[in-house]
C-alpha cells in the first residue's frame, strides 16, 4: 500500500531532524532511505510507523490520513536494529504475539506462525528463547513477527546494522528474495550505500533533514542531483574542480588524445583493481582501472599521461 508523506517537519529541542519533507512510496516497492547518521532517515521511518509524532505535516497510508493514528492501530510492521526480541517468549510466541493480541483463533495462529517460521527458515528453533539464537536468526525472527500481522507496510530501521559483515551480506540477499516473494510495501533505513544500491527498487537520499534525491539505484548513481549525493553513493575524485567517479577517469598514454596532462605519482593494486594516483595541474585525482588496463597501458610511476572524464 502506498505511503504519502507531505511537508513533514520534526525538531528535537533545537536540532532539526526533518525539514519540510515530501515523499511518496508506491505500492509494493522496496525503498531504501539512505543517508549519513543523524541525517533524519530513522526519524522519518519512525514517523511513518507512528513511534514519533511530526511537529508539522501529514502521513497518509493507503490514502488515509494516519498522522494522529497511534502505532498500535496503524497496522505497520516494524523491525528494529537491535531486534527488540521479547526475551521471555519463545521464538514461536514472539511471532504469534501480534496475532494473539488480535485474538485470532488458536488454529489459525498456529498455521500462520508455522508458515512464517518456514519462510524465515526458523522452523526448528520454534521453542527456543531469543537469547539462544544468533543475531541473524533473531533478526529473521523479528521479520517474521512483523509480517505475521499482515502489515500494510513493513518498516526496517537499520535491520542489519548490528550484524557481522558476512551475515549482513547474506541477509541482504535474502531480504531481496523475500520481498520478491512477499510483495509488501517495504521501507528500510540504511547508511550503507552498497546495501541500498543492491537491495532497493528505489533510493531516497536524506541528509541534514532534507531529501536530496529520489530515484532508482541506477538513476541516483549515474545522475546524482548534487555533489553530496554523488560523493555519498560511491568513491569520487576531483578533476578540473569537478567531481568524477574514479572508474570514469580514463588514462591515455597516446599524446594525440584530448585531456588534461598529468603525471602518475603512485600505483596501488587492490584485488582486481589498480588505483592510479596522479598529479594534474596541482590537483591529485585518482583513477580506478583494471589490472589488464594497467598492464596494457604499461603504467609506471613518474610517467606522463593524459586523463579525461568519460562521463
Amino acid at each position: 500500500m502506498s505511503i504519502e508523506v507531505s511537508s513533514v517537519g520534526k525538531r528535537f529541542g533545537s536540532f532539526v531532524a526533518l525539514e519540510d519533507v515530501d515523499l511518496t512510496v508506491a505500492d509494493g516497492r522496496l525503498t531504501a532511505l539512505l543517508g549519513p547518521s543523524g541525517g533524519g532517515k530513522s526519524t522519518l521511518l519512525r514517523i511513518i510507523g507512528g513511534l514519533e509524532q511530526p511537529d508539522s505535516g501529514t502521513v497518509r497510508i493507503n490514502g488515509k490520513d494516519a498522522t494522529r493514528v497511534p502505532p498500535q492501530r496503524r497496522n505497520v510492521g516494524f523491525v528494529f536494529q537491535h531486534y527488540a526480541a521479547f526475551k521471555h517468549l519463545s521464538v514461536y510466541r514472539n511471532v504469534a504475539f501480534g496475532l494473539e493480541i488480535r485474538k485470532r483463533p488458536k488454529a489459525e495462529i498456529r498455521a500462520r506462525v508455522n508458515e512464517l517460521l518456514a519462510l524465515v527458515h526458523l522452523e526448528q528453533f520454534a521453542d527456543r528463547l531469543p537469547e539462544q539464537l544468533s543475531g541473524g536468526q533473531r533478526q529473521r525472527m523479528a521479520l517474521a513477527r512483523a509480517l505475521a500481522v499482515e502489515p500494510s507496510v513493513l518498516l526496517l530501521d537499520e535491520p542489519f546494522g548490528a550484524l557481522d559483515a558476512q551475515v549482513r551480506k547474506e541477509l541482504r540477499d535474502w531480504l531481496r528474495r523475500l520481498h520478491d516473494e512477499v510483495h509488501v510495501t517495504t521501507i528500510f533505513v540504511t547508511h550503507d550505500q552498497e546495501e541500498a544500491l543492491e537491495v532497493a527498487d528505489e533510493l531516497v537520499v536524506i541528509n541534514h533533514g532534507r531529501i536530496e534525491q529520489v530515484g532508482t539505484p541506477a538513476d541516483v548513481y549515474d545522475k546524482p542531483a548534487n555533489d553530496f549525493v554523488m560523493s555519498f553513493l560511491g568513491p569520487v575524485t576531483k578533476l578540473g574542480g569537478r567531481l568524477v567517479r574514479p572508474h570514469d577517469l580514463e588514462i591515455h598514454t597516446d599524446g594525440t588524445a584530448e585531456g588534461t596532462p598529468a603525471e602518475v605519482t603512485g600505483l596501488q593494486r587492490i584485488g582486481f583493481e589498480v588505483r592510479v594516483t596522479l598529479d594534474a595541474n596541482g590537483e591529485q585525482p585518482w583513477s580506478q582501472v583494471t589490472r589488464a588496463q594497467a598492464e596494457a597501458l604499461r603504467l609506471a610511476v613518474g610517467q606522463r599521461v593524459w586523463i579525461r572524464a568519460a562521463v
Binding site: 498500535q72 527488540a84 526475551k87 493480541i101 527458515h121 544468533s134 513477527r145
Partner: protein
C-alpha cells in the same frame, strides 16, 4: 602453593568468623532462649490475646505496605525510566530519602503532619472523624514510607537496562498500554519485582522505630502494638515471651526469603537448560574458530540459499502477506 592455600584458609576463617559473630551467634541465642523454657511457654507467649492482635496488626500493616510499595514502586519506576520531565532527577533522589532518614524521624514527621492535636492536617482530619496517628492508617503510612524505595530500587535498573524497544515493538504489533504492561513489561521486571516485594515485606514485618512513634504503642482495648513493639515491651518490662515472638518473626522472614531464593534458582535453571541444545548443535563445528553465533547463522543461511523449495512451498500463501 602451600602459603597460598594457607592465606586462603585464613581469609575464609575471617569471613566465617565475621558472619558468625555478627549474624549466627545472636540467632542461635534467640533460638536457644525460645526453645529452653519448653513448648508450653512458647505456646503461652504466642497465643495470648495481646500477641494474637499484634500478629494480626503486623500482617495487615505488612500486606498493605507491600501492596502500596509494589504498585507505586513499579509506577514510579516506569515514570523515572520512561519519561523525561523537569524534576525527574529530584524525584529519583527523593525516592531514596526514606532509606537514609532515621525511622524515628519519619515517625515524628508524620505525627507533626497528621497528629490530632497540633498536626498540620490533624485537626481537619480529626473533625472529619478520620484518625491517622495512633491508629492503623498512620502505622501503614509509616511502614510504607520506610520501605518505599525497596521495590523501586530493584525495578529501576531492570527497566533502564531493558530499554523501551520491546514495548515499542509490542505497540506496533497492536498491543494497548495495558496489554504492553501485562505481556511485556511485567514479565521483564518480574524477578526484580518479586525480590523487591520480599525485601519490602521483611522490612515491614520488622519495622520498629517509625511505628513506635506513630502508633503510641497502645496495648489493651485499642491495641496498636505490632509484634516488634510487643517484643520491645516484653524485653523492657522483663516479662517472659519476648524471645518466642522474636523467633517467630525471624522464622517468617527467613522462610519468605528462602522461598523466593528457591523460586529464583528454579527460574534460572529453567532458562539455562536449553542453551545446552545450542551447544550440541555446534558440537560438530567446535573446531571452527569462527564465533559460535556466526557459525550458527551461516549454517542457517546456507540452508536458506540452497533451499528454494522452501520458499516456493509458501508461495501460494503469499497473497495473505500483502
Amino acid at each position: 602453593m602451600d602459603s597460598r592455600r594457607s592465606t586462603q584458609l585464613i581469609r575464609r576463617t575471617i569471613a566465617l568468623l565475621y558472619v558468625g559473630v555478627l549474624v549466627l551467634v545472636p540467632l542461635v541465642v534467640v533460638t536457644w532462649k525460645t526453645v529452653s523454657p519448653g513448648p508450653s511457654a512458647f505456646w503461652k507467649a504466642i497465643s495470648s490475646d495481646q500477641a494474637v492482635t499484634a500478629f494480626r496488626l503486623t500482617a495487615e500493616i505488612a500486606l498493605a505496605s507491600v501492596a502500596l510499595n509494589a504498585v507505586f514502586g513499579v509506577g514510579l519506576g516506569l515514570l523515572i525510566t520512561r519519561y523525561r520531565f523537569p524534576g525527574r532527577r529530584l524525584l529519583s533522589a527523593l525516592a531514596d530519602l526514606p532509606l537514609s532518614v532515621s525511622p524515628i524521624v519519619v515517625g515524628l514527621a508524620l505525627v507533626l503532619v497528621y497528629g490530632p492535636v497540633d498536626g498540620w492536617f490533624g485537626s481537619t482530619l480529626d473533625s472529619a472523624g478520620i484518625k491517622i496517628i495512633f491508629s492503623l492508617p498512620g502505622m501503614i503510612l509509616a511502614t510504607t514510607f520506610v520501605s518505599f524505595p525497596l521495590v523501586l530500587r530493584e525495578v529501576v535498573p531492570v527497566l533502564a537496562e531493558e530499554g523501551i524497544e520491546q514495548e515499542q515493538a509490542a505497540r506496533v504489533l497492536g498491543a494497548s498500554a495495558w496489554q504492553r504492561f501485562l505481556r511485556i513489561t511485567l514479565p521483564i521486571i518480574r524477578p526484580a519485582l518479586l525480590y523487591g516485594i520480599v525485601l519490602s515485606l521483611a522490612r515491614s514485618i520488622g519495622e520498629y522505630g517509625a511505628v513506635l512513634v506513630v502508633s503510641g504503642n497502645v496495648s489493651g482495648a485499642d491495641q496498636t502494638q505490632t509484634v516488634p513493639l510487643l517484643v520491645g515491651e516484653r524485653v523492657q518490662q522483663l516479662e517472659p515471651g519476648a524471645f518466642q515472638l522474636a523467633f517467630l518473626l525471624i522464622v517468617v522472614t527467613v522462610l519468605v526469603i528462602v522461598l523466593v531464593f528457591l523460586r529464583r534458582r528454579e527460574n534460572e535453571s529453567k532458562h539455562s537448560e536449553p542453551p545446552a541444545v545450542v551447544l550440541d548443535d555446534l558440537a560438530l563445528s567446535a573446531a571452527d574458530p569462527a564465533p559460535t553465533a556466526l557459525a550458527l547463522d551461516r549454517a542457517a543461511s546456507n540452508d536458506a540459499a540452497s533451499n528454494d523449495v522452501a520458499l516456493d512451498s509458501v508461495a501460494p500463501n503469499k497473497g495473505g502477506l500483502r
